[in-house]
Amino acid sequence: MDVPFILSWITYLPAAVALVLLALPRASNRTLRWIALSGSLAAFLLSLHLGFHFDASSSRMQFEESVSWIRFPAFEIRHHLGVDGISLFLVMLTTFLTPLALLSSWKSVTMRVRPFLACVLLLETGMTGVFCALDLVLFYVFWEVMLIPMYFLIGIWGGERRLYAAIKFILYTMAGSLLMLVGILYLFFAAGGDTFSLVEIVARLERGALAWSSREEFWLFLAFGLAFAIKIPLFPFHTWLPDAHVEAPTAGSVILAGVLLKMGTYGLVRFCLPLFPGAALALAPWISVLAVVGILYGALVAMVQPDMKKLVAYSSVSHMGLVVLGIFTFTPHGMTGALIQMVNHGLSTGALFLLVGMLYDRRHTRRIADFGGVAHTSPVFAAAFLVVTLAAIALPGLNGFVGEILILAGSFARNKVFGTLAALGMILGAVYMLRMYQRIFWGPKNPANAGLGDIGTRERILLLPIVGLMLWIGVYSAPFLRRMDASVAGILERVESAGTPGGSYRVQFIDPPGTPGEETK
């Protein structure tokens, strides 16, 4: 079965539903919610089609579609979409998490429901578009447009300091992305001024029709890389994240942590590596240092957070550092691990925010110290929280482990110091997550929880698919990893083309400054 323009359908269906919502003036909130939910579910079902019909043996773009968008005599901007093994699961993650985010707000958002739903759906369009776009301008448009609904989500439905958080979020991310815009423009003119197509420009680089001077490549890498680093967020560009997370409503946090952060690491893999492999190689040690610092720093700071959402936010800094480390190992397993870890982090952190949201709905506080003994009143909830916690700390058999072990294997092969330090993050992860779990759920019965109740049917429906997916990836990750292999190999081949032949260059190059080369197999 071949569905024409399937990626466009997936991308724009939510936006279309959002417009429908805005155009229905008299519908009740309930109706609106159902329409939004079914719209996002439809997008999810369509994205399943991608998963089933994806050809795992190919590293090429699939389900490609390309139509002229803005046409000039000298060049055109194309509406060019496509997915490969790198973006496939991120698209699916987006369509998977959005219905859940909508469902999570079923009861908690009662004010201005219509614009809320529209924002979430528009956000979905933006995110899907980011993962599918293969034209630099199109990518940039999605990248930026997606900020606006997120800004409103934080600013309108957020917590007490929402205005500060919203403006900080938007300014911080805009600063990075606008510099990327300059990078895109430069790239465009350097590539001949006739195409914004990523595929075409990479092809030119591969053919040798286009070559960078090392200075050029360095600055271009930074222009793109900064935008991505802020989004990831890579230490030390992370301070927008705790604020944004804490103030965002549950659905916003879920999407923010679940999908938005991945856009940064995705961008690195999709753009920075194939376009600027030389700079990527040269900067890899430094980026790895930042990543490792982020892993430990995020974990240590997470350890002492009194606010659950802040804790999870800092843990994201730590986890995303691991993903970055995996990417810059330039090993097949490290990079595959990074890709699957993006999905994993989306699931586990998304789920954590859902769970924290459920607590917040009931108690209207996120201070860990205000809780204790919740397991007495809400055993099912406690169990679900435990599973998610364990996934977040990479317990084998759950999804997080698959990603972490692959990343560790990759980084250990590349550099033992980094690998070891990153592994220490596993200890710290257990410390802060279990600390939180213990303080919330264990302990003597707490009269404040008297009215807490256990989670209801809606919330179970919400958690079940996530937990199921966690187990699936944890136990049988092959269907996921297999679909990434070819694309990862393609990227790596591209990166390695920048190293001098023989490969020894590569290994020495990657060692951190100051440490002697280590033997790798």
Partner: protein, 640 residues
Amino acid sequence: MTELLWLLPLVPLAGAALCGLAGRRLPKRAVTIVACSASGAAFVLALAAFFELLALAPGDRRIEREFFTWIAAGDFTASAGFLLDPLSAVMALVVTGVGFLIHVYSTGYMRAEAGYYRFFAYMNLFLFSMLVLVLAGNFLLMFVGWEGVGLCSYLLIGYYFDRPAAADAGKKAFIVNRVGDVGFILGILLVFLTFGSLEFGPVFGEIAADSAFAPPGSGVLTATALLLFVGAAGKSAQIPLHVWLPDAMEGPTPVSALIHAATMVTAGVYMVVRCAPIFSRAPAALDAVLVVGIATALMAATIGLVQTDIKRVLAYSTVSQLGFMFAAAGVGAFSAAIFHLMTHAFFKALLFLGAGSVIHALSGEQDLRRMGGLRRRLPITFWTMLTAALAISGIFPLAGFFSKDEILWSAWAGGHPVVWIVGLLTAGLTALYMFRLIFLAFFGEARYAQGVHPHESPRSMTAPLVALALLSAVAGFIGLPAWLGANRFARFLEPSLSLVRRGDAPHLSHALEFGFAALSVAVALAGIFAAYRLYVVRPGTAGRIVARWGALYRLLRDKYRFDEFYDRAVIRPVLRLSERTLWQRVDVGVIDRAVNGVGASMAGLGGVLRGMQNGLIRSYAAWILAGTAAVLLYLSLFRN
């Protein structure tokens, strides 16, 4: 049966799923049936597998089954596959056998608990994880079981989660184990890096072929072995990662018996033995194992002397015995380590269950100082525990005698006389603290609270005691020392250890070996006698000794102050670093302030501009004039 090997761990998993998901709505009876039949079925399956293995020729006793590819990325592949060989068969038998007995015991012990279903779900899940651990055919799958049992341990220690102590202990156990696990993981990665595989077969095969990547004694092998041993030390509570085990006694007593005595904590020993091909080619690492093992044995035994909580005495005893096992591995006597592991599983599980029976009878009292005189009230408990105490003390012909003696003898024969002496001393101490426990609990006058009427436990609890007592009594005979006949146990294990590199053992006479055995029995008897003098004949003597050696006593009572040390040297500095330095100072004070500072400085610039915009026409005109001058100047100055 081996075709159905996958069923072996899956049966308890199904039990766990059933109990965990539906248990709240099922009657207790149903939970009992599900849980016990799951563990019983697992035991039967393990027996079947064992006999099937036995039916094969010794050289063929190695069955590998691969079910599916679990992780595959690049050249990194890990399959979900099992390896059944004598070593894993013995472990599976011990795990399921003791596990089954403890399940049965728990139906009685936990009867009154509200979280009955939860308890059994965790227990079955534990069996599943433990079986994955011992049956795994590669390092990574082993790690799955490894962390899985850690999780169950965490959950079961924290079973009484409303007690802060239990909750803390669970967390402590998990985190300390994580420290070890990271070592384990790094070891695994080093293995992968060196040999390009994670499967036991290829890796050990290459090592045994004295691979050029990692020749015997090479740094890589030593590093690998040491990292793996860090993992083992974490799981098996060896110095310096032993601190979690005594605290783990906050869990229900059957848990202590199953997880924290008989099975999980011995996983470290199992792992070292499984990786014997590596360890035996890394002499430096082996020495480390030996030193840590024997030091732990002695240290824990000394602490055990002064503990007053019955379960803590047993916990330190466990730590001590685990140290023995590592010492055995350290001197290269891998089969002796497993042998002791097995016998220890029997008698230590028995001791814990007996202690549970005592606690049960005394309505939760765990302090030895408030027991006494229970001999007649709890006859079955007393006799079975006495058997176990004799066994652990190494009295001929009980199981502990054979296994411990083999370790001591191996140490001497392997050229480690100091280890032998320390081991002997520890054996004496073992007898001393064990019989201190027996005498304090069962002899003398009753010191428990008025109104408590101890009575013997129900049959569901005593039956496992008796079964274990029998095993403790006779299990030793499968591993007779050379001067008594053939060590069948060692011979059975042989195929699993065929890749071990062995030095040439000096030929020592059977007479010498017999003499040493007699000596160790004598030392044990001396220990028992000392305990008798101190706690039965002259009960006041202990107090006088304490008074005289106050400092030493306090040191022992405070467990050498490891916890305090960690608290001060690690936990608090890290927290302080995180809270004050990283969070408040770096994150808020530097990074975020820098970010906000950019904004503030722009707003500051805006403020300055605001001031310049003073509303006066003439000053605006002055600006225009100045600007004109600047433009003219600029144009004339920068003319090329």
